[in-house]
């Protein structure tokens, strides 16, 4: 009688036969993998939705004046913030009659880039990434994406900044 009660007790504690136990554990893990697949799909779908929304939203800030032509000599730079105070940008006079502006955040890990006038390029001192001052494309180093270019316009002797290219 006591041995039968003992047997019943362990049956309650271990209801699954040993040979089936592995199957049940693997099946639960497979279900978990299915849920992981769902989560990955939802993540990708969310990015797709946000991408569409971003293209439909109006520009963050209207055009505004950032400098006068006389402020910068050939090869000089001016730092400014656009479109928000958290977005550092750099304005460069790369030719006597040409101005360009880029986001100052390196596309690798967001370190601020500096202008090297003698080599006509922008350098990221963190990991030695280099970008062309002409068009912001990557010349060397770990960055994979070009520097975002800021659209500029010259009105008289003033330089205005608009939406990003």
């Amino acid at each position: 009688m006591r041995s039968e009660q003992k047997r019943e007790a362990w049956r309650e504690d271990f209801p699954i036969h040993w040979e089936d136990d592995e199957y049940v554990t693997r099946r639960e893990f497979t279900k978990f993998l299915g849920l992981t697949s769902l989560a990955l799909f939802l993540g990708t779908a969310w990015i797709a939705v946000w991408e569409r929304l971003r293209r439909r939203l109006p520009g963050a800030e209207p055009a505004r004046r950032i400098a006068s032509i006389a402020e910068l000599d050939f090869g000089e730079v001016k730092l400014f913030r656009y479109p928000t105070a958290e977005e550092p940008c750099i304005l460069i006079r790369i030719a006597p009659d040409r101005f360009v502006a880029y986001s100052q955040r390196c596309t690798h890990l967001a370190c601020p880039v500096v202008y090297e006038g003698e080599k006509e390029r922008l350098r990221c001192p963190c990991h030695e990434g280099f970008f062309s001052a002409e068009d912001g494309r990557v010349l060397a180093g770990p960055p994979k994406r070009p520097l975002p270019k800021i659209a500029l316009s010259v009105r008289g002797d003033e330089i205005w900044v608009g939406d990003r290219v």
Binding site: E19, D20, E22, Y23, R26, R27, F29, T30, K31, L33, G34, T36, S37, L38, L40, F41, G43, T44, A45, I47, A48, V49, W50, E51, R52, R55, T107, K144, R145, P148, R164
Partner: protein, 64 residues
């Protein structure tokens, strides 16, 4: 019979792992393109990920 069932389950898990790796690659690539302001890659990637999800759902359903 039980051994066969375990084998089928192991094969399903292996396929699921591959499907998950593909979905992870799609997610990372889409995020990279989104952060870089690249072209509209979100929708094709989401569709591909959805197809992977259907395959994963079929695999999970087949071992139930």
């Amino acid at each position: 019979m039980k051994r066969q069932r375990n084998t089928v389950l192991s094969i399903a898990m292996a396929f699921l792992a591959v499907v998950l790796l593909v979905q992870l690659w799609l997610l990372v690539g889409t995020l990279e393109a989104f952060m870089g302001g690249g072209g509209l890659v979100g929708l094709p990637a989401a569709l591909a990920s959805g197809a992977c999800l259907l395959i994963a759902a079929w695999l999970v359903g087949s071992v139930e």
